[in-house]
């Protein structure tokens, strides 16, 4: 009897071992498949049939209802990061990565052949992840969404924290990729395009002697930076005039990019050889160029802004409180199936 029991025990151990090994193999296989199909890094998104996508669609929790995400969409978060962001020097790590002063979600709908843009106010009050001074997860708190970036410590982690904050804010809408641009790179962007042509709209000789009203100038380097960013003691000193200069810069920039990419893929490739070092992105250069050509002819509207209210918080800083009902409706319409 004792021998039988011993045999039984050995057999059971072997069964457990076999089951364990089998489970391990399945887990490794599952992890590998998940990694390949995941949205991380520069891994291309796995494309199945539309029905395949629908069956594995992430579910969004909107207003207490679970709604399937529209998997025809590709979301790219463009963030403009405070030029004082400090990634090179350690200082007080995980607190010094600068704010994401600008957040724009670009949504490409491959089925409907549309491109939609949504700007998220930097001061939007949202749940952001806090890291301790040693980089450990220290919980979440409600704060301006731009601050999520400040906790990263590295561009990758800061970008991921910002992506996470945006996803949470939008009820779980997955952000597939991000593009992070340092705000101090404006001049370099202009240089990469050989300068941006503009007509000076008013007398700006206090800024630069060549900025005579009506003059045609080619903005480069610091000159471009000043033209776009300066306000105080320049011209009439108003933001309205600065925004006019910014629009002129944009028009000139788009004109230059258009001229370069119209030459074909080789030219686009060359252009992005220069632009890629100015960005930090989860997209490869090839993927960006493919997207540019793929979306040619897509329909697009203007920029959507979530509705809400600006207030001043107890600490004296601006807060933007999104209107929850309006935001839910916006997410439902833009990001879920059947809308």
């Amino acid at each position: 009897m004792g021998i039988v029991v011993t045999k039984f025990k050995l057999s059971r151990r072997r069964m457990v071992l076999i089951a364990g090994v089998t489970l391990a193999i399945l887990l490794v296989a599952f992890a590998a498949i998940s990694l390949l199909a995941g949205k991380g890094g520069q891994t291309p998104t796995v494309r199945g049939s539309l029905s395949d996508r629908a069956s594995s669609a992430p579910m969004l929790n909107i207003g207490g209802k679970t709604v399937p995400y529209d998997t025809n969409l590709v979301n790219i978060l463009v963030m403009g990061v405070d030029q004082n962001a400090d990634f090179g020097e350690r200082k007080l790590s995980f607190r010094s990565s600068g704010q994401a002063d600008f957040l724009l979600l670009v949504t490409i709908d491959e089925k409907a052949r549309t491109v939609d843009l949504m700007q998220i106010d930097r001061d939007t009050m949202a749940d952001i992840t806090i890291l301790s001074v040693l980089g450990q997860d220290a919980g979440t708190r409600k704060a301006q969404i731009c601050l999520a970036h400040g906790f990263g410590g590295t561009r990758e982690r800061s970008s991921q924290l910002t992506r996470q904050a945006v996803e949470t804010f939008l009820y779980g809408v997955p952000v597939d990729h991000f593009v992070s641009i340092n705000m101090g790179s404006i001049g370099a962007f202009a240089d990469a395009l050989g300068g941006i042509p503009v007509t000076v709209p008013e007398d700006l000789t206090d800024m630069d002697p060549s900025f005579v009203k009506g003059a045609q100038v080619l903005l480069k380097g610091e000159m471009a930076n000043n033209f776009v960013r300066q306000r105080m003691n320049i011209g009439d000193g108003t933001n309205r005039m600065r925004m006019q200069r910014q629009k002129l810069f944009m028009d000139g920039f788009l004109s230059r990019v258009g001229a370069e990419t119209a030459k074909g893929r080789a030219a686009a490739n060359e252009l992005f050889d220069d632009l890629m070092p100015l960005m930090y992105t989860s997209l490869s250069k090839g993927r960006i160029i493919n997207l540019l050509f793929q979306t040619e002819g897509y329909l697009t509207g203007g920029i959507t802004y979530p509705a809400g209210e600006h207030t001043v918080g107890a600490n004296g800083f601006t807060e933007f409180h999104a209107d929850r009902a309006a935001l839910e409706q916006l997410v439902l319409e833009r990001f879920t199936q059947g809308n």
Binding site: Q99, L104, L134
Partner: protein, 189 residues
């Protein structure tokens, strides 16, 4: 929806960064430093002129963080890896049996005091950091007095508040020393 050629939409999106970020300069721009705050002083009579500040980056705090980071490398517990000499003092503040190695270093910053006089006695303040401290869990506030290359630590028991800040009572003698020199504050939970 207006039909346009949008082959350049991604580049356009990237460049939209420029106008919006720059125009935001008109209103106060919040930074991560705004999450640090010291409150509660105004409620106390006689200390209206006392200013206690948490300064996120001071030379001493930056240097100390480098040392702590090196000491805890490999996920070593903060107390035994860096505050080993203060472990007894920390343990004395907490209920018997508390696992000191479960305490994580959540915050570290410079600490400044001005306008304080010894006759004011101890002052209870609410220290707010980016971390929201959990109510009901023990909090230890370590105040470090920088003395040359050394730091002399004093451990204080804090209490996590509902708003995530830490209420701590600072002894008068300690406040005098902080005011007279350079100090740092580290918070464990």
């Amino acid at each position: 929806m207006k039909k346009r050629t949008v082959s350049l939409v991604l580049v356009m999106a990237m460049m939209l960064v420029l106008p919006f970020a720059a125009s935001a300069a008109n209103s106060p721009s919040v930074t991560n430093d705004a999450l640090y705050n010291v409150g509660g002083l105004q409620a106390l009579p006689g200390v209206e002129n006392v200013v206690i500040e948490i300064v996120p980056e001071t030379p001493a705090a930056v240097k100390l963080l480098e040392e702590v980071t090196a000491a805890v490398e490999g996920d070593k517990p903060a107390v035994s890896a860096f505050f080993a000499e203060q472990a007894a003092a920390v343990g004395a503040l907490l209920p018997a049996g508390t696992d000191l190695d479960a305490l994580q270093l959540k915050e570290l910053a410079g600490l400044r005091v001005s306008g304080y006089t010894a006759d004011m006695g101890p002052i209870a303040v609410k220290l707010a950091f980016p971390t929201l401290f959990e109510v009901g869990k023990p909090v230890v506030v370590m105040v470090g007095l920088v003395q040359g290359e050394e730091i002399v630590w004093e451990a204080l028991l804090g209490t996590a508040q509902a708003d995530g800040s830490v209420l701590v009572t600072m002894p008068g003698e300690l406040l005098v020393k902080v005011q007279a020199g350079e100090a740092v504050v580290a918070v464990l939970q």
